[in-house]
């Protein structure tokens, strides 16, 4: 485990030396501050201007869903960029034939970052959440968000061959986060077309306060992760 940890530290050093990736890791904090202080202010302003009791407040849950995903996605994106850089440098195959091994590498690049993303997401949600979810809801929200981060990181490393392509794929793959919007704005059963997206179930879980929806979200995520992981394994074989 020591070796895996050393390899993880190497990734952190790479992130620290890359201004873009370093800024990405700080992104969730800045975004959280914007949500926590900006949105309620905007809500008061809009309610006064439009003379309504509420305007944005019914969608605070949706904002929390997005924030839970964003915190993980940004951190996992940074890890995915490091993997792409290692692929560019052809270091990745070498790492597999060291004391680290393939399993150790995957843990250091996806396992540990996901774990950290989960913990950070919980902390950031606790601080910046607009709906103050209960502990179970918070855990499920954090876990689902982390899964989304892992899914996007895997999509980036599976479908791109260098950092430039990686950034383009990240932009494209974040579309799958938009599934969370459907339960809030679409009442027609057509919304279930987005059911293969875990974000859809996160949105539904938050809107209806349904733990089952969160559990379905996790199951859907696991399917995505397994499929993408198999593809990634084939790519690096």
């Amino acid at each position: 485990m020591k070796i895996v940890y050393r390899c993880f530290l190497q990734m952190m050093r790479t992130i620290r030396h890359d201004m873009m990736l370093f800024a990405v890791c700080l992104g969730p904090v800045l975004c959280g501050m914007l949500i926590k202080f900006g949105i309620p202010f905007l809500e008061s302003f809009l309610c006064i201007q439009l003379q309504k009791k509420t305007f944005l407040a019914p969608y605070y849950g949706l904002l929390d869903v997005f924030f839970a995903m964003l915190a993980s996605v940004l951190f996992c994106f940074a890890a995915a960029m490091v993997v792409l850089e290692e692929t560019d440098d052809k270091v990745i195959r070498y790492l597999f034939v060291t004391g680290l091994g393939k399993k150790g590498y995957l843990i250091s690049r996806f396992g540990i970052p996901s774990g950290i993303a989960f913990v950070f997401t919980l902390i950031l949600l606790r601080i910046f959440s607009l709906t103050k979810p209960g502990i179970t809801e918070l855990l499920l929200l954090g876990l689902s968000g982390t899964c989304m981060g892992l899914i996007i990181a895997l999509m980036v490393v599976v479908f791109s061959t260098n950092k430039l392509e990686g950034m383009a794929i990240t932009k494209l793959s974040t579309v799958i986060m938009l599934g969370g919007v459907a339960p809030y704005f679409v009442e027609h059963p057509v919304k279930y077309l987005l059911a293969p997206l875990s974000s859809f179930w996160m949105g539904k879980g938050m809107l209806e306060d349904s733990l089952w929806s969160f559990l379905i979200s996790l199951m859907v995520s696991v399917i995505w992760i397994v499929v993408l992981f198999i593809k990634f394994q084939k790519k690096i074989a």
Partner: protein
């Protein structure tokens, strides 16, 4: 050290490596020779545990490759043909990081850098290195954890004659320390000079396996070519083992009229072409 029995492997349903059998003894330098696409790299990938879905048995250090654990790599050093370094890090930072990935006590980074003439460039970023410098750095990276078995893929590729010589001396030095070395190369001269035994691989099959000396001798005797002046320059060739019966040559020696004489032994390349019907280039 390595036992390969009835090895077959394919990337698709069609086998690419077919029913291969060979052994590599402890302390020897064993060469894989073959043209591009012959299966050398695939074979190396199987031996270092990167392709576990093979048929037959491949045992390295007594461990079946498809079942290897993480510590399998504590005893193996791999030098890929291409650079496998973090380009943004310096040579020293790279070596420090890679040596931290093993449980074994690492060899001195300074000594290794000095051995390949890179000590003065230790704090340069690898992206500023030439191909030859990267090649030398790659080689010492494989030695960091002092493994007992080395896999070297084209270690002399891209090196100038001086560094080529230095690299070959370093490989022979590692052999003297008792290491087993598997060398994959296109370079017949390097193979002749370094390898105790070589295997010719073509289309996923071993077509010949022996020491370079035995393979060359099996081809037959060397030829002697001599020239003299007689209405212009004349040349004749006779097999070395029939030289005593060459009347013309004897007469020229007696009359002191020989202009030049030299023997030409077949090279490993000639043997490769004879056996496989192909060249390596």
């Amino acid at each position: 050290m390595i036992q390969v029995k009835n090895l077959s492997f394919g990337y698709t349903d069609k086998p690419f490596i077919r029913d291969m059998n060979f052994e590599v003894r402890e302390g020897e330098i064993f060469g894989f020779l073959g043209p591009s696409g012959a299966g050398k790299s695939t074979l190396q990938k199987i031996l270092i545990g990167m392709l576990p879905k093979y048929e037959g048995s491949v045992r390295v250090n007594g461990i079946e490759c498809r079942e290897h654990e993480k510590d399998f790599y504590e005893n193996i050093g791999v030098d890929f043909e291409f650079s496998t370094m973090y380009e943004k890090l310096t040579a020293r930072e790279n070596l420090r990081f890679f040596s931290s990935l093993y449980q074994r006590k690492p060899r001195s980074i300074e000594e290794l850098l000095e051995a390949v003439g890179l000590l003065s460039d230790a704090d340069k970023k690898v992206s500023d290195f030439s191909k030859g410098m990267k090649s030398r750095l790659n080689f010492i990276k494989a030695l960091l954890h002092d493994p007992v078995l080395l896999f070297l893929d084209e270690p002399t590729s891209g090196l100038d004659p001086t560094n080529n010589r230095m690299m070959k001396d370093l490989i022979l030095e590692e052999k003297k320390k008792g290491k087993t070395i598997l060398l994959t190369t296109h370079n017949m001269q390097d193979a002749t000079e370094l390898c105790d035994r070589v295997a010719f691989i073509v289309n996923g099959e071993i077509l010949a396996l022996d020491s370079p000396h035995n393979l060359i001798m099996a081809k037959g005797a060397a030829n002697v070519t001599y020239t003299w002046q007689e209405d212009g320059e004349k040349t004749a060739v006779c097999p070395l083992n029939e030289i005593a019966g060459d009347e013309k040559l004897r007469q020229l020696i007696v009359e002191n009229r020989l202009q030049s004489i030299h023997s030409s032994e077949p090279t490993l390349n000639d043997i490769f072409m004879d056996i496989t019907g192909r060249t390596l280039v």
